[in-house]
Structure formats: C-alpha cells, structure tokens
C-alpha cells in the first residue's frame, strides 16, 4: 500500500469514528488538491477558493448524514474531485458566473507561489497561458485532462469518479489535449503576428 493510500485509509477510518474530530485534519490533508483542482478548472483564484470551500462544506454535510460504514468505504480524494466538479458545473450553468469561469482572459497565475524552483517564475507566463487555455476547453474535456495530467490520476480512478466508461475518459483526455495544443498554437501565432504587426 502506498503512503497516499494508507493516509486515505486512516483518514476514512477517522471520519467513520468521529466526523467532527477528524474533519480538520481531513481539510488540511486535501485542501491543496481540491484548491489546485478548482483553480485549474476555473482559472480564477477567487472563484476557485469559493468553489473549494463549498466543496468541503458539502462534504461535511454529506459525512454527517452517512453511516460510519459508508464513511469508511469512501475513496476520499475521488469523492472530493466529484463534488468539486459538480460545483464547477453548477457555476458554469449560472449566467452570472459564465464570464468568470469560461472567459479565457481570466488567467491570473498562482502556480509559482511559494518556494518553487526558480524556473517557475520564468514559466509563470506560459503556465498562466496554459491555465487560461484549459479554462476555455469544454468542461467534459477540461475535467478529464486536469484529472489525468494535472492531478495525475489513473484512467480507472477517473472513470469511476466521473461515472463514465474508461474508453470515453481516454478519448476525452486525448481530444482535450489536442484542442489545448491547437488553442495554444493559434494564440502563439496571433501574438507573434501582432508583435510583428
């Protein structure tokens, strides 16, 4: 069993015993993953934080309703990704938020915050562009690409958490990557030609 799996196992056992006592360590253990996920889905730090917070609040309410056996059986990380994705989906549906989450210009970058390697700073612009391009992808591609290539999850896990056949997930990831590359190339050309202008 990997450290990661062991941590998940211990955490779900603790939650099965006592939701209130285990909830703070649970948030601390998964806050970075959930925030990274919502940030890469929305490309907007403020929106991402709201969505990440709502994700944990819904998780807490659900945990309180679940039986100890059900809490013990939860695959916590996948479960949080699912809740977060549903939240982002709701956000995308509400007209007020549309401009925020789907507008490619909302590319404020926080990937280089903290003590990262120095090349981060130089790459910040690229990473910001990349996150912006991600946010322009249709949600069905975006969710799959982020889970596979940003969060590094296995296809089987993604298929389970999205409730889709594995083939569908694979094709959405590949299609998503192709669209992402095409988008970045088009933008790159546009920028270069306007610079030559």
């Amino acid at each position: 069993m990997s450290d990661d799996e062991r941590m998940q196992r211990e955490m779900s056992m603790a939650l099965a015993r006592d939701v209130d006592a285990a909830f703070e360590p649970f948030v601390l253990a998964y806050q970075d993953r959930v925030f990274a996920y919502t940030l890469n889905l929305t490309a907007n730090p403020a929106v991402a934080e709201d969505v990440a917070q709502e994700t944990f609040v819904s998780a807490y309410r659900a945990l309180q309703k679940y039986s100890p056996a059900r809490r013990r059986a939860l695959a916590l990380r996948s479960w949080l990704y699912t809740i977060a994705l549903n939240r982002v989906r709701n956000l995308a549906r509400s007209p007020a938020a549309k401009t925020v989450s789907l507008d490619g210009r909302a590319t404020i970058d926080v990937a280089d915050r903290g003590a990262g390697p120095p090349e981060y700073a130089e790459r910040a612009e690229t990473l910001g562009e990349l996150r912006g391009a991600l946010a322009r992808l249709a949600l069905r591609y975006r969710g799959a690409v982020v889970l596979r290539h940003v969060e590094g999850r296995e296809y089987a896990e993604i298929a389970t958490l999205l409730g889709q056949p594995i083939g569908t997930v694979k094709s959405n990831v590949h299609r998503g990557l192709a669209l992402l590359r095409a988008d970045l190339q088009r933008r790159g050309h546009a920028q270069r030609s306007s610079a030559l202008g």
Binding site: E24, V27, R131, H149
Partner: protein
C-alpha cells in the same frame, strides 16, 4: 506541454483556507471571558476540549495571539460551558480533571507533563523533579520546566502548583512570581511559610506518629499535630530516621 500541465497542480490552498472552512461548518474554536483568581481571562475551547487560557487586555489581543499560535479562527460564545465555569471558580483539581483539553499543539512529553500537573490538588505544590520522576523521565527537569512554561491552558492545568526543587516558588508564565504567589495564596498555600521552610533547607515534612514523610503541602502531612512534625533536608535523612515516603504525595519512589 504534459510537464507544464503537471506543474499547474503544484498549488497551495490560500492562507487561512482550512480555518474558513471550519468556520463555515461551525467547527471553529469558541471563546468567552471569565473571572479567575488572576482577574479576567479569555478561554477558548473546541470539540477536543479547552484549547487556550490567556490573560490579555482585550478580545482583539486574544484573537490575535490565539490565531498566531493555533492558525484557527475564534468565534465568541454566548454561553460558558457549566463545567468550565465550575472548574475556573472552584480551582478544584477534580473539577479541572473533569474537563477535556486540546493539547494537540503539545508534544507527547509536554502533554504528559501537563496531565501530571493536573493531579496536584488545590492548596498544594510539587517540585519540577517530582513531575520528571512521576512521568518516568527523572533527568528531564529542564524540559519539564519549559513544558510548564508553554502550558496553553494555565490556571485550569495548574502549572502554578509546580515549584522549584529548592522549595522557592519560581517563575510563572501568567505574570511572573508575584502572580504565582497570589494564585497559590488564593488557593490556601502559606507561601511565606513554605519559602521560609525552604530557606532553611527543609524539603520534607516527617510525621513522628506515623513515621511517614511528605511534601510540605501534602494534605496528609498538614493534619499532623505540631509536636509530631519532623523536618528533613533529604530523602536519605528521612529514610535513615526510619520514615517511609507518603503514598499520596509520593515525595520519593516507594
């Protein structure tokens, strides 16, 4: 591009994020101010137990120091848990032991020191080396001192009842030796007599009628008649005179 996508995942949640989540679901620490033998103090608690007791000038200072120390936010409570009020008012060790304490910020050693201090009855004191011996770390006296100095829940966990090995009352985190003297006197300890005894090198109180020796403030020793009291400088003196250590206050290993 796949490498760059991977980098997009290297993000930390914003500062204070977990605290805001806990607040949103009602799991933040609650607090109130209470009267104590040292005047008004601020007390915080959560699901794990009492998490902080501080003597600070006002609520803003309490919030600031609590958040800096614990990284969690506070919410004022309209009610004070009755068990907390009772323990604070009575100063009784039994009442204080009935509360639970959130010692998650302490190391296991520090927590053991604090739990041991919780056993000292009101009106009595024990030296640092007593705690060190009782928790099975007889050489860790200095560490015992710093664990008590960092007590997150003073007054309730009575670090003020732990005094120096030479019998002097020693320092106190909640306002220095004067405050320590004040709270001990409020609990019925004759601090002057104690320091006077210590000044003459007397560390143990023997009772001639029972041939038992105690810490000077032990309740069993206090009941002895004046003419039966025999002071001892060392454990060896007491044992040489045919005395055995008291089983209640355990001035020495039995």
């Amino acid at each position: 591009m796949l490498k760059d996508l991977r980098r997009l995942g290297k993000v930390h949640a914003p500062a204070g994020f977990a605290g805001r989540v806990l607040q949103a679901v009602g799991l933040v620490d609650r607090f109130a101010s209470l009267e104590s033998p040292l005047g008004r103090v601020y007390v915080a608690w959560n699901l794990h137990g009492i998490s902080a007791v501080m003597r600070v000038p006002d609520e803003a200072a309490f919030r600031r120091e609590f958040e800096a120390l614990n990284g969690r936010t506070l919410e004022r409570s309209r009610e004070i848990p009755p068990a907390l009020r009772r323990a604070m008012e009575s100063g009784s060790a039994a009442d204080a032991r009935r509360l639970t304490y959130d010692l998650r910020s302490c190391t296991p050693f520090e927590a053991a020191v604090l739990r041991k201090a919780l056993e000292i009855p009101r009106g009595q004191v024990r030296p640092y080396n007593w705690i060190a011996r009782e928790i099975g770390r007889p050489k860790a006296m200095r560490a015992v001192g710093s664990a008590l100095a960092n007590n997150p829940v003073p007054i309730l966990i009575p670090c003020h009842r732990v005094v120096r090995g030479d019998g002097k009352i020693g320092n106190y985190g909640l306002g220095g030796p004067q405050k320590k003297m004040r709270i001990l006197e409020a609990e019925g300890v004759d601090v002057i007599a104690l320091e006077h005894w210590a000044g003459r090198g007397m560390r143990y109180k023997g009772v001639a009628s029972t041939k038992i020796f105690c810490w000077p403030t032990c309740a069993a020793g206090r009941r002895a008649k004046e003419q039966n009291v025999r002071p001892f400088r060392t454990e060896r003196d007491a044992r040489a005179a045919g005395y055995r250590p008291c089983k209640l206050c355990r001035p020495a290993a039995a």
